[in-house]
Structures are given as structure tokens and as C-alpha cells.
Symmetry: D3
Subunit: 256 residues, 6 copies
């Protein structure tokens, strides 16, 4: 089976640089996968992407060495399993708020006896190899999002779930849930304390920790703090900011 | 009929900033159209875009004030007419190399008596208004690409075609045709001379001149030289370069 | 943030005329949004429409002043949130049968502290403006469908849920659930009594009430009765009935 | 091979009622094909429809007894042949203005020895039966559009082309070409004279004549005049007009 | 209403030959439906197929006499109902492990008073006829998958659910759940005993039993054992195995 | 630049085994590319495939070592260039009947100075590498189809065109054109003589020769005769024949 490079990097103590895909388009995904990220996440939650688009994007990422991940929109076991069948090598699940939800999520990513994933790895076997079924449980990653005050409260319950590979902090939703306002890229105040606490507990439980950022500077800072998996940019911001900059430069130049 | 803002800008002596779309995706098109360009061109020639994708992109651009243009893949009158029916307010046609080709192109963008465009402006009338047919001939723009040694030779023949609104220089193809090598963003040597010559002849014929560039700096320089319509960035480069930069910054930061 | 015209009409005591979309096609949606409805609902339950089609339809509606709404297929919080991220200004949720279901639905449409909607308004911010997050809770509408005998029973429990904007009666399902037969456009008998009762209770709770009809005549009658939001026609019936009429007229004319 | 009902109707002297499809959607096509038309034309010229959409629409029409036709965007032999391979039982080609163009069009719809259609009837054989190749030349219809002053001039040249099944008048383009204005549904003045002349010449050459109308009344009138194939309504007008009527009735009712 | 041929075959004691669709493509579905199967199942669980693709495939199957079925990805009542609205004549639901799950599934496939299916049979009525609502409860089939150790334990609880038409054994998942390894096409050992037991209990409860196989030989053996509905081949295996065979024959021939 | 394995095999005297794709689906293309063919051809002529589908299929083939080729529907230079931009490593063009057509086709596949291909290799550069433009003229293959009596007549004119890489015989169309009947897989009679003649002339001109067959047996025979590039199977036949065989075996087994 094709190894999961993200898992290898995590195991060997190296950081994982993840890119984020929100556009429902395979060519954009292919361009992103030529940029050198270790992994790319197809975001089916806030991205404008459904299964058919996700499939074509996973295929496009598969033309390179970048590891394909998916964020599902919700704890929906059928869709977790279906994106794995489509060749995702890891699934990020939003809004894991309790031990029971974490167990249900982990189970959906593992075949028996350690889970209840249904058998039928169609495109997954094309991507991974014919021995997919033998090694999938040790290869595929699950990442539970910690992003609510409720989850913060239950952090040890969640982290102690057998088979959980990693947690992934969503700072915007976490701060929204804690303080009623979504903030990005800050370690100040209560949200900073919460993030440090989650990170410390993850280390204590030997669970990898990742987090979402919106700049390379902050992503580097998060790696320094001990995060092992960081997202530092997404396709829509690159387009929107790049295009605005180009227009600003042009308008500025014209004024002179 | 909704006026063509690009035509208005040209008529009033103001520059037109055009963005370029190569990804077959409506959300990306919508993001680009929020950046402030005067117009956006859906490139059906080198972009990975066919009619159905172009339609959804034209619709997305229509949610803003940005003027929607299309580049067709070839001098195919049926497709020129069909993209106009879909609501394009201008068509750029590649590889116009002779007076006869220029005439055929112009005719495809005009209803009788000045052309032979077939009648049936379906989505165009939704975008433009019910009086589309009355004003389309005076509203819709045609831009003939000058991008071969052959066209350079016949430049006055082409520019004197009745009804031609503008020419659009493709420097990569022009240099490829003249010197066997595609170059970008240069006014040096033979290619620079050729571009200056085409621009001068366009002015002499009272035909607007536009050109393709790949940086805001060079686009500004082209405006200074007298071009009135410049393309300065495209969606795929924004994604590809932005993503590569992000990875480079991260890798660089990690090494320290 | 772009105001929600449906909310404004409701607040100012004016009726809301809603159209219904069942075809998975953006051009048809755009045609409907040029007809003058106050709002259009993309029906992802009984319409043949999934997320990618819904996205292109919401984009098409956004080219006009018509307010875009979505009916989700089921109480699936992930999908409720995703359609809001795609720019829906209101969500109709079928089969709300208990206080707990109504609470779960309302929470999915509101950011903390009043709900648990996850943060990431991608296309929504393009449509609404950059201050979307600040005003979304006061702008976006939720409409809970009352359409079972069970819901009729629990009507006060449901209507007293904090944050519920409106209810929407589905007479076909309600009559099917009460009497084993789906009927349309009638105020006779038990179904009429039930509709009058729901309307009266909604007024008592200061919750707006809407209903589904299949003719303009009956829709007008419902407005007279006190409903504030009425659906009076859908795209598939217009096509199917219009086409049948045309054929009938032709066959009839031929016989003479 | 499944017989071509339109050809049978024409052969037996009965009128053919044709409906027109402009929306790129298979469900809408299926709804239209349940209305009772003898044939439906997928309009790839002014409709917002490309090949992949046309394929799904032809499939949808094939679930009923309605005969599937296609109008191609231009005299493009490759696309004429491809739509036949997709199962179209007839092709309407716009802008046939000379004997040579008519010959090229007819040839594209016939296998050797009477034409040069390339062999490979993939979906066509699923629709028609395994003996498709044996009978296609006698089954599939070609309809050349007469819609310019130029074509009017050459009408006998065009009508005398061996193998031409029918002509189809496009009154909007014909009047646009003759008088500089697109008109519909009129037999007044020069355009009326031209239509009568074309019809008379078609009869003289034993070629079936059809025409495009936009109302059942005018379509019936055209059948009385001797046309054998009439189009009387299209999907977009049904939606647009039906929706506008519904809104008008509602607004009118509210005012009372 | 168009009768359900699979139900008729089951009622008259005849075996049902089912084919399986994993490719998201309508033409492939149409090819399969010309092969002579009694029914075809669009697999939305392990197939790479979402709703929009499923709709186009159901339409393609509808061009023939083959009965269209769908396997949903999970016990999601909204999607069960939506695939029925799209014209599926039967739904297979995976992972039914308890009486309560079986009841919820059956209810989603039946209108009141025997279930809670929501009313709105859009394409279903096109396929089935205008009297769909009257007869759907007696026509549409539900098939609950028995494929876990847990379900084996509760087999009598599940089989005694009122309104359950059939069970469908998934041997791969069943063996995976029982023994930690997915096996196909075997009646040996514990898995063979389990299958025989489920079949015997189904007969005792007068519930039809079907099963999944991967060869015609084993499918025939299962019919001999008393199964009434067997799947014997799928589209992806036909392509993958057929292509590999062709290459092997070519490489072999070249070596000689 | 990624080398063209088909060109390498041809150069080194080894046979090329080509598979054929007619289904507009990327997963099917990916399955085929795992079977071991040297190349796969996306057939945009008789396959039900347009550009957007072709793009997703070329991407899917790119996940493997199989070389991606495209057959365009007609000698349309714009589409020849666009499929190359999408990453095709070779283009097969149907119906090349004269020296002029062969020249126009070859020119469309080559950048200046040897051709007139327009510059803009978007996805091609992702697939091939950043030095695509430098080596494309020596890497990309053009294959002209010889498939009419007219082409047979002009065979030396066509074969002597500078830059033509290969010819590809279409026996069905050739026999249809010569004898009025499409035959497959025969070397008998006139058609056999014609094929032998074309092959001999190709050798004399040092142009590679390929041919279309419908069985591995006949493909092997053609390789023995001296053909260097053979197509031996396609996706639709694998599905159609495989499915029919499965049904036949099942029905046969049931009868016993």
C-alpha cells in the first residue's frame, strides 16, 4: 500500500504543511498540489464542494506526491466512509464535542475489529494499491476538530479515545463558541490559553495536534509552539487577495 | 440595455484593467469579480473551460459590476455567437491573420445589416435587458488578436475592417511566430518594435489597442505606452504562485 | 451587509411572494428570478438538486434582487450550515416535529452565542458583504415546516422556541399524515381546521407563518387569511402545464 | 431499427408538432417529453447547451415516445455526426446559404455511399437498435435552415440537393437579414411573401417544410398554409411567461 | 402506475438478476441496462456517485425495462426519500443492525399511514405515471442490509418489522465484522453458517432474501440455496478485468 | 519534460498497446489506466465526451504511467490545440483526406517555426514539467486517420507531409467508404489489400502506422503484419459484453 506521507512525517517528528481547498475544481487542486505542500485538504464543510467535485479533486491531487485529505461537513459516518473509498488518506471531522462523538468518528475510519467502516475501497485501491484493505487501518488518518467550549471541557475524554490519531483546532469556531466572536491567528487572552491547554493535553495523551491558520507567519509560530500539522493558506484567499493586490497596484500606478 | 462599461471607459479615454480566467469554476470567477477589475475574460482557448463552465462563470461575473468577456478558442462563428447569447459583452478572437478573417469575425459579432450574427439572445437579454437586440451592435465589443508574423504583415488590412472595435496583442504567440520563442513582458528587440508598430497603426486607424501581460508592473508600462486595455493577472498564476510562496516561506522559516 | 428583503417585508407587514425551484439548472433559476418574485426557494428535498447545482442556482438568483432561500432535504445541521455558506438568506427545514428538533434547526442557523453554526461564510460573504459575520444572525431566516400530525400536536412547544423566525406549512404532507392522503389547495374539513389552528397559534407566539400552494388563486386566499409568506408556483409545473397546454391547443386546432 | 416517428408522420401527410429546448437540463427535457409533442429539439445554437448536457437531455427524451432532434450551432460536420452518434434522430442546421453548404450538411448526416458520416453510432445503437447502421440513412432526418436573404436567393439550388429531407425556416433571422429587424409570427409584407415563396418552392421540389413560431395560434396558421413541421413553444418561455403571469396575478390580487 | 418488475418476479417465485453500478456515468448505466438484467442498483455507498449523477443514471436506466434501484450510503431518511422521488423503484440500505433502525428505514420508504415519507414524487411520477402516490407503498421495495455480527444477533428482531420487503446480505462486511477479514463468494466456515442461518430465518418470516456475489457461478449457487435476488457483476470489475485480460492476451501473444 | 512513452516505444521498435475510452467518466478512465496499456485514447469523436469530461479523464490517466492521447471529432485546429493544452501527449485526427488537410493538422500540433500552435500549455505543463514549451514539438505525437477511399488515393501526398508522426487506419470507415459497409477485423478482399497498401507506403515514407481493431487476436495479427500501434479494446465493449455474458451465464444456469 502506498504509504501515508503525512503519517510518516508525523511519526518521524517532522512538521506537516497542509494547504486548503475551497473551490470545487480539479485544475485548481492540481495547481495547488504542484506547490509543494505535504498535504492538501478538500474542505467539504465550508468549501463549495460536494462529493462529485471532491472525487475529481482527489484524483487531481493523486497525480502528485501530495497527500489527499478531506474535511467532511459533519459527523456523518456514511460520508466519512465514502470519502475514504474515494481515496482520501485522512479525514478531518468538525465539531467533535464528546467522547461518544469521537468514538463514532474513529470507528467510521477503521475496518473491524477496531471500527465499523463498511468494505468497498473502490478508488482508494486504485490510488493506494491492491493491498489497501490489509493496511488501511494503519495508514488512514482521522483528525477530530476541537472547536467549541464544550469540547474544551471534555478534552481529556476526547483525547483518550482509542484509535484517535490527531486533533485539529479550529480557532475561529473555538473563539466564536467561547467569546461570541471568530478571531484568527492570535494567541492572546482566553483563546490563546485554550489553545495552549489543548496542545498540552494532546501531548500528554500522545495524540498529534494540528491547527488552522491564515498566514505563513502564524503557521510557523504554531509549529514552534509544538503543533505538528499546520494549515497556512487556501486557494480562495490566494485568488481573492492576489487579484485585489493586482488591481490595487494597477490603480495606484495609474494615479501617479 | 445595460451599458458596456469597458466600451464607456475606452470612449472616455480611461484605461481598462482586465483580469483573466483559466479555471473552469464559477466561484473562482466570482471571487475574481469582487477584486475590482473593470472586466474579466473567460479564456476558452488556453483555459480549461468549455461552454457549460463558461456559462456558469459568466453568470457569476454578472453578480457584480465587472464586465464579462470571452476569448473563444478559434475563429468559429457558431461559438462566437453562442458566447454572446450567453451574455458575454465582448469576444476576443485568437489568430486573426488576414482581412478576410477579421471581416468574418466582426460579422459574427453583429446582427444584420452590419453582420450575420444569428438571432436568439437568451441569457444575454437577462443580463442586458429586454432591449438587447436594439443596442447589441453598439454595445458588444470585438477584439481581434494580432499574434503572428503574418498578421503583422497585414496589419493595415486588418485594422481597416469596418466595425472592428479593438485589437489585442498576444506577445507570447507573436514572438513565437516571429522568432521561434515565446517571451513575455518585454519591449526589447524585434518583438518590442513589432508591438510599437502595431500600436502606432492601431492609433492611425482609430482602433483601440490592448495587450496581454503577466505582471502589474509591465501592464502599467504598456498603459504608459498608449495601450488602453491591459490584462495583468490570471487566476491560475495567483493560485500557483501564491501557494508556492506560502510553501517557500514555511520551508524557509522551518530551516531557521 | 446586504439586507434580507424577505425579512424587511415581513417586518413591515407586507406579504412575501415566493417561487419554487425544482430543476437543477442555473439558467432556469435566473429566468425565474427575473419574473418579480420576492424570493425563490431552491428545493433540495423534492427537487432534483444537490449542493453543486444549488450553488450555481444561488449564484444565478444573486444576479437579481430576488432573495435566495433553500429547502434542505432533512434536518441535517451540516447541510443547513453549508447552504448558508453558499449564500442562502433563509433555510426551510422539513418535518420539524418536536421542540428539540426545532431547537437543533434554529441553532444550526445561528452563530454563537445563540447557536452552534460553524464559521466559514465563503460565498455568503461575496453575496452579502464583508460584514456578514456581524449581522448574519439578524439577517438569515429560518423557517420550520409544520407538516405532520405529530407537529400539530406539539405546535406550542415548537412555536415557543427562542429564535425561530417562521413556520412554513406543507399542506400535502400534513394531510397525508393526518388523513392518509395528500391534498392541495383546500381549507375544507380537518386539514382546513388544522391550518387555521397553526396560523392562530403562530400569531399568538409572534412567529411569521407561511404556506405552500399550487395556484395564485389559493395563494391569494391564504394571504387574506393572514399568511405572510406564500409560495404560488414552481418551475416544473410551469414547464409541464405550459407544454401540455400548447400541445392541447395545437391538437384542438388541428381537429377543426 | 426503431422507426423515426417524425419521418412516418411526414410520409403519411400528418403534421409534426415540435417543442424546443433551451435549458441545459435533463429533467426539464423529460418533463417536456411527457407533454405530448411529436418531437423535441435540443437547441445547441441559441440554447445554453453543450454536448454533455445535450447527451443527458437526449437520454431523458428517450424514456418516452417523443422523437429527439438537435439543432447544431453551426455547419460543423464533426458535431453533426457526434449528435447523431448520441442518438439524435434528426439534425437542424442553421444558416444554410448555398448549394455547397447544403451538400456538405446532407453528407454529414449520411453514411457512404450517399454521404461521408463517420462510423461509430455508440448511444444511437442503444436507442435505435443493433441494426442502426443498416437503416440510419433512411431514418435520420436532416433539416436545413433557410434564414437569410442569401438563402432566399439560392432557394432552388438548395432545395435540389439530393438527399435533403426538409427545410426549416427561421423567420426571425430571415427578417433580420432581409429588413434589419427580427420579427416573429407574421405573414405580412416582404417577410410573408418570402415565407410563402420558400414554402411553394419546397413543395415543388418535394422537400418537407417546417418553420419556427412562438405561439400555438401562429403555429396552427402555418400548418394551414402547408407547413408540415412546426415548433410552437419552448421551455424558457414557458418558465419565464408562466412565472411572470403568476407574479402579476398575485400582485393584482393583492391590490384589490 | 408502472409495475415493479422486481416485485412481480419475487411474487411469482422467479429469481431476480441484479447488476451493480459504481461509475458515476449515465452512458455506462445505459449500456448495462441493455444487457438484460432484471434490475440495476446505483450504488451511492461505495460507488463514486452522488445525487446528481444518480439522477442521470436513473434516467438512463429508465430508457429500458430494467428496474432501477439505489443503495444509499447510510440510513439517512432524507436521502432515502430523495432517491425515491428521483424514480428509484427500490432502496437498499446498508448497516441495518437493530429493530429500531429497520423500522426507521421502512418508514422512510412508505407514505402515511404506514410510514413518514414526505410527499413530492417529481421524477418518480414521470417514470411511474400520474397515479404514483396511490400505489407507491405497494410498489416500491425496501431492502435492509444484514452485514454485521450485531445484525446477525438481532436477525429475528429485524425480520419481524412490519413492512420490510427484503433483506440483502453483504458477505464482505459480514465476514469483516465477524472475523476481521472481508471475504467473497464462500459458504465455508462461520460465514457460510451465518448466511445459511439468515436465509433460513428470512424464509421463516416470509421476507425475501438477496445477496451480493462477485461471479455468475457463485450467484447461481446462491439461487440454488434459496436466495431470490442476486447481484452477480458490476461495471467497474467488467472494465478493470476486461481491460487487464486484453492487455495480458496482447503481452502474451507478443512474447510468442 | 516527461518523455512520451509511446514515442519512445515507437522509436525503439517496440509495439504500442492502446486502449480506447468512450465513456465520459474519469473513474472509468482511471480503471483502464491501471490495466497496463501503453496508452489510452480519449475519443471525442464517437465517444460521448466533450472537453470538460476529457479534461477530467486526462487528469485521471495522469495518475499512472499510461500515455494520454485524444481523438478529436474533426479537423478543428482550435480543439486540437486545446486538448494538447489539457495534457494530451498525442492527437488522432479523423478523416484526413488530402495533403492540405494533413498539413493543417500537423501545423496545429507544433509551435512555430514548424507549425502554428498557439502558446498557453496550462495543464500540459503541470503534467509534463516546466520545460514543456522547449520540448513539446519533439514530444507530442500527431496521428492522421486514413479512413476513406479519397485518402487511399492520396496516400503518398499525405505521407510525405513534413512532421507527420504517424497514420492510424480506421478500417470501419475505410470499408464503408470503399464498399458501402463498415467491417471490422478482416484482411480479406479489397479492404485487406487497401490496408496492406497503406502499411507498405507508410513504411516507405518512414511514418509509423497504427490501426483500430476490436479484439486482441486481430490486434496481435496486425502487429505481426508490421503495425506498430494497435488499439485492441474499449471501455464500452468491456462493459456491454461483460454484462451480457454475465446475464447469459445466469440465465443459462437457471435453465438447467
Amino acid at each position: 500500500m502506498r504509504p501515508n506521507r503525512v503519517r510518516q512525517l508525523l511519526a518521524s517528528g517532522q512538521p506537516v504543511l497542509n494547504g486548503w481547498l475551497l473551490l470545487p475544481d480539479s485544475l485548481s487542486a492540481e495547481l495547488m498540489s504542484h506547490a509543494g505542500f505535504d498535504s492538501l485538504t478538500v474542505d467539504m464543510q465550508h468549501g463549495m464542494i460536494d462529493f462529485q467535485s471532491a472525487l475529481s479533486m482527489l484524483t487531481a491531487i493523486s497525480t502528485t506526491q501530495t497527500t489527499p485529505l478531506v474535511r467532511v461537513p459533519w459527523l456523518d459516518p456514511g460520508l466519512v466512509m465514502k470519502t475514504l473509498d474515494a481515496g482520501a488518506y485522512g479525514v478531518i471531522c468538525p465539531m467533535i464535542n464528546s467522547r461518544q462523538q469521537a468514538q463514532q468518528f474513529v470507528a467510521a475510519t477503521r475496518y473491524a475489529p477496531t471500527g465499523n467502516r463498511s468494505f468497498g475501497p473502490l478508488r482508494a485501491a486504485l490510488y493506494a494499491g491492491d493491498d489497501y484493505a490489509l493496511h488501511a487501518n494503519d495508514t488512514v488518518l482521522n483528525l477530530a476538530m476541537i472547536e467549541t467550549a464544550q469540547a474544551l471541557d471534555k478534552i481529556d475524554d476526547i483525547l483518550s479515545v482509542e484509535g484517535l490519531d490527531a486533533i485539529y483546532i479550529g480557532p475561529a469556531d473555538l473563539s466564536l463558541s467561547m467569546k461570541g466572536k471568530a478571531v484568527h491567528d492570535t494567541m492572546e487572552g482566553d483563546i490563546g490559553d485554550a489553545i495552549r491547554h489543548i496542545l498540552a493535553r494532546a501531548k500528554a495523551h500522545n495524540v498529534f495536534a494540528g491547527t488552522h491558520t491564515s498566514s505563513t507567519q502564524f503557521a510557523l509560530k504554531m509549529l514552534e509552539l509544538g503543533f505538528r500539522f499546520v494549515t497556512c493558506c487556501n486557494d480562495t484567499r490566494l485568488i481573492a487577495a492576489g487579484a485585489s493586490n493586482a488591481v490595487r497596484e494597477m490603480r495606484g500606478g495609474l494615479k501617479q
